[in-house]
């Protein structure tokens, strides 16, 4: 076919923009993800609900115990923050999943990856921003509720520094890592409802299955399922007194970090090779 345009020769002087070209890097992706996470209402909502759960439930338990006759002299007081944090984990998982899956749901992901073709950079920025938001919020909330509990339940023994550290920093790190796992699952599943369901299953299923495994020959499996279930690991972080099997001390944090890292590695691999 004859194509006259080919004889048109030299192209028209091409356009050059007055906007300076500066090489973008991870910091720019972080700024972008920070704008994203702070500018949607679901972030504000989930974090508010999380605050109400952690502080509210922690306070309720402390007040109830204080007015009762229960003997708490030898209890680790900070443990009473456990129930609020366990429920708040649902908020963290939801936020983690939504950070990624909402982009797929709205189609924003195509715009995001057009603006930043390095998918690893996008995922790294998302994971970092999300992790820090959850970690800092949980740290503040657990510190607040811990301080309130200690001041209300002044008849109990004061927590040691190690107990304080694990019940605040450790719990926050654990929860933020659980959030990272949800974020990775969000990348893998790409569907908000599906990914949130999967994560709730991850949290609840081992315990539920363990309950039904009341068979003599499977006692070991039952015990392992219970010990390594997420609620139990979270509880161990508060207090491992009397725990003689399964993770102890700081181990839940390492386990959760390793699981989240493995899931994120999968998310990187899939995101880099998959069509959007």
């Amino acid at each position: 076919m004859t194509t006259p345009h080919q004889q048109q020769g030299a192209p028209v002087a091409s356009y050059s923009s007055p906007i300076p070209v500066r090489k973008a890097h991870l910091g720019d992706a972080l700024a972008s993800e920070w704008t994203k996470i702070r500018s949607v209402r679901s972030t504000i909502w989930t974090l508010s609900v999380m605050a109400v759960l952690i502080v509210g439930i922690g306070l309720l338990i402390a007040v109830a115990l204080n007015s009762s006759e229960a003997d708490i002299a030898n209890e680790q007081v900070l443990f009473f923050g456990f129930f609020g944090v366990l429920l708040a984990s649902v908020c963290v998982m939801t936020l983690g999943v939504l950070t990624v899956a909402s982009e797929y749901g709205t189609g924003m992901i195509r715009t995001t990856l057009t603006a930043c073709p390095s998918r690893s950079r996008v995922l790294t920025a998302k994971a970092l921003v999300f992790f820090l938001v959850v970690f800092v919020s949980t740290l503040v909330l657990t510190l607040v509720v811990g301080a309130l509990q200690v001041s209300i339940l002044d008849t109990a023994k004061a927590p040691t520094n190690e107990e304080w550290f694990r019940s605040t920093f450790g719990v926050s790190f654990f929860l933020a890592s659980l959030g990272l796992l949800s974020l990775a699952v969000g990348v893998l599943i790409r569907h908000s409802a599906g990914a949130i369901t999967a994560m709730i299953g991850v949290v609840l299923l081992p315990m539920v299955v363990a309950m039904f495994l009341a068979v003599e020959s499977l006692a070991k499996v039952q015990e392992a399922l219970f010990d390594y279930s997420i609620p139990n690991q979270l509880g161990v972080l508060y207090t491992d007194a009397g725990v003689d099997s399964g993770p102890q001390g700081w181990e839940p944090v390492w386990i959760m970090t390793a699981v989240a890292a493995a899931a994120l590695a999968g998310a990187y691999a899939v995101l880099n090779s998959r069509d959007v």
Partner: protein, 338 residues
């Protein structure tokens, strides 16, 4: 400059894009035309590195898209107007894109002004109409003031004023020396905006030509003639060396005949005419004919896909023998001008 080299995409057994090679040149509006499902969007997604090609490559100014550190400054794309987070304000939707490419935040207000969304900048984009969403998408494409702009079906959902606006915008952007690549399934729209034309069908390149050449090659002109004595008229035309084709309403269409010649011929032999008019097949029709026969007209040969078919069975009156009725077999053979 965008260069495609043997670009192919296969989804399972289905070949969506089949060895596409073409160039998109700067300074002109290049129309990317094909029926729905021809592979236009898939091709555009591969250009932006959203989908991985099965084989072949796309280069933007000689580089792969993934090698561009701040791609928005090279290439701005409107793929899907709804590709924004509805819960975020228009301003914030653009701001996070700008930040990812180190574009100053002041530019966000500028592009919102260009597309006329300043008044709703702080409103959630969820509540935007289709046309406003389209404008927001265009704003995101313009954000980096890029040299190359890609629009996938930009006039979809726009009102006439909006369509007019986007046409002028594209022309103005091209005049500034930018590369404009715009897809459409409407030939009539392309005829108004594009200087260059790339047509694909079933993922294959069917034509890569200038708009002017396409119009010249494809707008078949013919005369339409109707008479209460059709038998006599037909014999008369045959004798004169024409091959009339009967169409609905008892009229005849005669290719390559001027109305003057037919009028004189009828008068000479005393045939009564009720209608005699010059017709020009629409480009839409030429386009449909081209894409319907895409199996026959694949671009790897030297055949000239631009030639419109001889006045055989026209589009819409009988399905082409060798292809399935891909393009609405019920589509009429209207002669509406463009």
């Amino acid at each position: 400059m965008i260069e495609l080299e043997g670009l192919s995409k296969r989804f399972g057994a289905k070949v969506a894009v089949d060895r596409l090679s073409f160039q998109v040149r700067p300074g002109v509006v290049t129309g990317f035309l094909g029926p729905n499902g021809a592979g236009k969007s898939t091709t555009m997604r591969m250009m932006l590195d959203l989908d991985n090609p099965t084989s072949g490559s796309v280069r933007i100014d000689g580089r792969h898209y993934r090698e561009l550190a701040e791609p928005l400054k090279y290439i701005g794309a409107l793929l899907d107007a709804k590709a924004m987070h509805g819960g975020r304000s228009a301003y914030n939707n653009l701001l996070c894109l700008a930040q990812a490419n180190r574009i100053p935040a002041s530019r966000v207000s500028e592009v919102l002004d260009i597309v006329g969304l300043t008044a709703v900048a702080r409103k959630k984009s969820k509540g935007f109409s289709l046309g406003m969403g389209q404008r927001l998408g265009i704003a995101s494409a313009l954000l980096g003031d890029p040299e190359i702009l890609m629009f996938d079906e930009p006039v979809n959902g726009l009102d006439p004023e909006g369509i007019h606006w986007i046409r002028n915008l594209m022309k103005q952007l091209a005049a500034e020396g930018r590369t404009i690549f715009v897809s459409s399934h409407l030939m009539s729209e392309m005829a108004l905006t594009a200087d260059h034309l790339i047509v694909i069908g079933q993922g294959r390149l069917l034509a890569d030509t200038t708009m002017a050449a396409f119009i010249q090659e494809n707008s078949r002109s013919y005369a339409r003639v109707r008479s209460p004595q059709p038998e006599r008229l037909r014999d008369l035309l045959h004798t004169a060396g024409f091959t009339p084709v009967e169409v609905a309403g008892g009229a005849l269409e005669v290719d390559g005949a001027s109305t003057e010649r037919l009028g004189e011929l009828a008068a000479e032999h005393g045939v009564v005419l009720h209608e005699l008019s010059a017709q020009r097949a629409s480009l839409e029709e030429a386009f449909m004919q081209m894409t319907a026969g895409s199996v026959e007209y694949h671009a790897h040969g030297t055949s000239d896909p631009g030639r419109s078919a001889p006045p055989g069975p026209r589009w819409g009156e009988g399905p082409p023998a060798d292809t399935g009725p891909r393009w609405g077999a019920g589509g009429g053979s209207g002669t509406e001008g463009i």
